[in-house]
C-alpha cells in the first residue's frame, strides 16, 4: 500500500456525534479526510459513486453507526458483504448499543471491531488512537 491517507466514511445520523468525530480528529491532529453519510442508503451511494456523489476512493475504512433511518447499520453491512466490489471493506461499528444481538450480528458480518461510543474515551481519544495505529500498521485491500 502506498503512503496515501486512508479515507474515513462516517455513517452516522446524529449531527452532534458527527461533530464529535470531527473534533476528535482535529484535536489529535489527524489529517485523514472524513466523508459523512446520514444513513445506510447515503453510505452505499457514496461507496458506489451513485446518485450524483463522487465515489469514495481507496483506501478507506468505514465507521458505522447501527440505529439509523431508512437503512440501519446491520442491513447496510449485509448489502455491503453481498456486493462484488465492496465486500472487502474494512468496517468498525461505532454505536450506543451494548446489546448482545447487535454485537453478534456485527461480527457475523465480519466487522473489524465493535465499539461503544461511551467507552471510546472523553473526546473519543481512544477511538482516534486506535485508528491511527490501525492504518499505520495494517495493509489495506
Amino acid at each position: 500500500m502506498s503512503g496515501s491517507l486512508v479515507h474515513v466514511l462516517l455513517v452516522e445520523d446524529n449531527a452532534v456525534d458527527q461533530e464529535a468525530v470531527r473534533r476528535a480528529f482535529e484535536r489529535h491532529r489527524i489529517a485523514n479526510p472524513i466523508h459523512v453519510a446520514n444513513d445506510g442508503v447515503d453510505a452505499l451511494e457514496c461507496l458506489r459513486g451513485a446518485a450524483g456523489r463522487a465515489q469514495l476512493p481507496r483506501p478507506y475504512l468505514i465507521l458505522l453507526d447501527l440505529n439509523m433511518p431508512r437503512l440501519g447499520g446491520i442491513d447496510m453491512l449485509r448489502r455491503l458483504r453481498a456486493d462484488p466490489v465492496l465486500h472487502d471493506s474494512i468496517v468498525f461499528i461505532l454505536t450506543t448499543s451494548r446489546r448482545d444481538e447487535d454485537i453478534v450480528a456485527s461480527y457475523d458480518l465480519n466487522v473489524a471491531g465493535y465499539m461503544v461510543k461511551s467507552e471510546v474515551g472523553a473526546e473519543f481519544t481512544r477511538l482516534t488512537r486506535l485508528l491511527d495505529h490501525y492504518w499505520g500498521v495494517v495493509q489495506f485491500p
Binding site: 446524529n14 452532534v16 456525534d17 461533530e19 464529535a20 473534533r23 450506543t96 448499543s97 461510543k117 461511551s118
Partner: protein
C-alpha cells in the same frame, strides 16, 4: 398306669389316649349331661340305640382325626353345624355348653390320683369357675353378635345412601377370573346418568358394563387387578354422539376380582386451566413488550442527553478564556442537570422493572451479597459497612434484593452529614421470612416525613445539596420491591441516625422437605 407328671403339658396324642382309656365313662357323662336339658333329653329319647351308637362313632372318628392326625377342619365344621342346629332349635348356649364340656371329669380323674382330695377339690372349684365364665361369654357372644350385626347393617346402609347421593360417578366392576367377562353389580345414580346421556344408553344398570367396555375402562380395570394398584387415566368423548365432556378415571382393586371405578367430570376444570394458561401467555407477552418498551424508551431518551453534554463541553472548551464566571457556572450546572437526568432515567428503568420475577431463584448467602453491593457502591474511605447478626441463606432471585440493598446503602452514604460514617446491616430469620435492616448514623429523618420519603421523587433536602445526586426514587423502589413480595418496609429515626427495615421471603422450604 402312673399318672402323668403334673408339671409337663399333655400332648394331643397323650390327651387322645386318656380319652380312649375313659371312653365309656366320657360317653356316659355326656349322656347324663344331655339328660339334664329337656330338649336334649327328648332328642336322646327319640333316638334308638343304633342311631346313638352311629353318632358316637362318628363323633369319635372326627375327634381322632383332629387330635391324633391334626386335621381339624371336619371336626370344627361339625361343631359349627351343631351350634347352628341347636341355635335354630332355640337351645341357648349355656344349655349346650355343659354337654360339650362333660368329657372333662373322667379325664381329670385319669390325671389325678383318686386319693388326692385337696387337688381334686381345687380343680373342681376351678372348673366350676371356668364353666361359669365361659357360659357367660358364650351367651354374650350370641347376643352381642346380633347387636353388632344390627350396627354393621346400619352403617352399611348409611354408606350406601352417601354413595347414591354423590355427584361423583361410582361403579363396582366384577371381572370373572375364568373368562374375564365383566359385570357391574353396583352403580350409583351419577354413574347411571352417564349411560343415560350416551346415545344408545338407557340409564339402567344393565347398560353400565357396555358403556364401560365401549370406552376402554374395562382395560383399566384389568390393569388395576393385575397390578394390584390404583390406575388413573383420562377419558374424553369416545363415540360419536358423546358429550364434549372429559373425565378423570380411577380404578382401584377391592379384592382379587372386584374393582371400584370413579369417574370425575373435569371438563370445567380443564376449560379453566386452558383459560389460565392463555392469560399467563398474554401476561408474559405483555411483560416482554413492557421490558422492550422501557429499554428502548430509556435508550432513546438518553441519546439527546449525551449530545447536550458534548455540546456544553465543547462550548466551554472553545471559549474558556472569554467566558464570564456566571456563564462558566451556568454551563457546569447544565452538565450537572444532564447527569441527573440520565441517573433519573436509569432509576426509572429500575423502578419499572421491580416487582417482576427478576429471574430464577438461586442460593444467596446474605453477607456475600452485602459485600458485593458494598464493592459496587464504593463508599468513601471513612465509611464503614458492618455486618451484624446471622447470615441467612436465601433461595431467591438475586437482582431484586441486590437493588434494594444497593439503594439503601447508597442512601445512607449520600445523605450523611459527616465525612465519616458507620452503616450496620443486620438480618434475623422470622418464620419463612428474613427481617433485614440498614442502620446509619447520619442526620436522621424527622418523624413527620417518615411516610413521605417512600413516595416517588421525594427528597428532604434540595437536590443540589445532596452529594452524588439522588433521584428521589430509591426508597420508592425499595417499597415497591418489598411489597410486591408480600413484605413490609418501615423507617425509624430518633433524632440521630436512621434505620430502614424490611422483610424478604426466605424462599427455602421446610428443612424436612429440603433434606428429602
Amino acid at each position: 398306669m402312673a399318672p402323668t407328671d403334673n408339671c409337663q403339658p399333655l400332648t394331643l396324642r397323650q390327651f387322645w389316649d386318656r380319652l380312649e382309656r375313659r371312653r365309656e365313662e366320657v360317653d356316659a357323662a355326656v349322656v347324663e349331661a344331655a339328660g339334664r336339658s329337656s330338649v336334649f333329653a327328648e332328642i336322646l329319647a327319640s333316638m334308638d340305640d343304633e342311631t346313638r351308637q352311629q353318632q358316637q362313632t362318628h363323633a369319635r372318628a372326627l375327634q381322632r382325626e383332629a387330635l391324633v392326625e391334626g386335621h381339624w377342619d371336619r371336626y370344627l365344621e361339625d361343631l359349627r353345624g351343631q351350634g347352628a342346629r341347636y341355635a335354630q332349635l332355640g337351645i341357648p348356649f349355656h344349655e349346650w355348653f355343659p354337654i360339650v364340656s362333660a368329657f372333662r371329669p373322667p379325664i381329670i380323674d385319669d390325671l389325678l390320683p383318686r386319693k388326692d382330695t385337696t387337688a381334686r377339690g381345687v380343680l373342681d372349684g376351678l372348673n366350676a369357675f371356668v364353666d361359669g365364665a365361659m357360659a357367660e361369654i358364650g351367651a354374650a357372644y350370641v347376643d352381642k353378635k346380633e347387636q353388632m350385626l344390627r350396627d354393621a347393617q346400619g352403617r352399611l346402609q348409611r354408606y350406601i345412601d352417601l354413595v347414591a347421593a354423590a355427584p361423583l360417578a361410582q361403579v363396582v366392576v366384577e371381572i370373572h377370573a375364568d373368562d374375564g367377562t365383566l359385570r357391574t353389580p353396583v352403580a350409583n345414580p351419577a354413574a347411571l346418568q352417564l349411560t343415560a346421556a350416551a346415545p344408545t344408553g338407557t340409564g339402567e344398570l344393565a347398560d353400565m358394563a357396555t358403556w364401560l367396555l365401549e370406552r376402554g375402562v374395562a382395560d383399566e380395570c384389568r390393569r388395576a387387578l393385575s397390578a394390584g394398584a390404583l390406575q388413573r387415566s383420562t377419558l374424553g368423548p369416545a363415540l360419536p354422539g358423546d358429550d364434549e365432556r372429559h373425565f378423570d378415571v380411577r380404578c382401584f382393586p377391592l379384592d382379587d376380582r372386584h374393582v371400584a371405578v370413579t369417574l370425575e367430570d373435569v371438563t370445567d376444570r380443564r376449560a379453566l386451566q386452558a383459560r389460565v394458561a392463555a392469560h399467563i401467555r398474554d401476561l408474559e407477552r405483555s411483560n416482554r413488550e413492557l421490558d422492550e418498551f422501557a429499554y428502548v424508551t430509556s435508550h432513546d431518551l438518553k441519546a439527546p442527553l449525551q449530545d447536550i453534554r458534548n455540546l456544553a463541553r465543547w462550548v466551554s472548551q472553545d471559549i474558556a478564556d472569554i467566558l464570564p464566571d456566571d456563564s462558566s457556572r451556568h454551563l457546569a450546572l447544565l452538565v450537572d442537570r444532564v447527569d441527573r437526568m440520565e441517573q433519573l432515567l436509569d432509576d426509572l428503568l429500575d423502578y419499572s422493572r421491580v416487582g417482576r420475577s427478576g429471574g430464577a431463584p438461586s442460593q444467596v448467602r446474605f453477607w456475600d451479597l452485602v459485600d458485593e453491593v458494598v464493592a459496587y457502591v464504593q463508599p468513601p474511605p471513612q465509611f464503614e459497612v458492618r455486618h451484624d447478626g446471622v447470615s441467612p441463606v436465601l433461595k431467591c432471585p438475586r437482582p431484586p434484593l441486590e437493588k434494594v440493598l444497593r439503594n439503601l446503602i447508597q442512601n445512607a452514604i449520600r445523605h450523611h452529614d459527616r465525612s465519616q460514617g458507620l452503616i450496620i446491616v443486620s438480618a434475623t430469620e422470622v418464620g419463612d421470612r428474613v427481617r433485614i435492616s440498614v442502620t446509619d448514623d447520619g442526620p436522621g429523618i424527622p418523624p413527620e416525613y417518615a411516610e413521605r420519603v417512600f413516595r416517588m421523587f421525594q427528597t428532604l433536602r434540595p437536590r443540589d445539596q445532596v452529594a452524588g445526586g439522588g433521584s428521589g426514587i430509591g426508597l420508592a423502589l425499595v417499597k415497591k420491591a418489598v411489597e410486591s413480595l408480600g413484605g413490609e418496609v418501615g423507617l425509624r429515626s430518633n433524632g440521630r441516625g436512621t434505620t430502614v427495615c424490611f422483610t424478604w421471603p426466605k424462599g427455602v422450604r421446610d428443612s424436612m422437605e429440603a433434606a428429602s
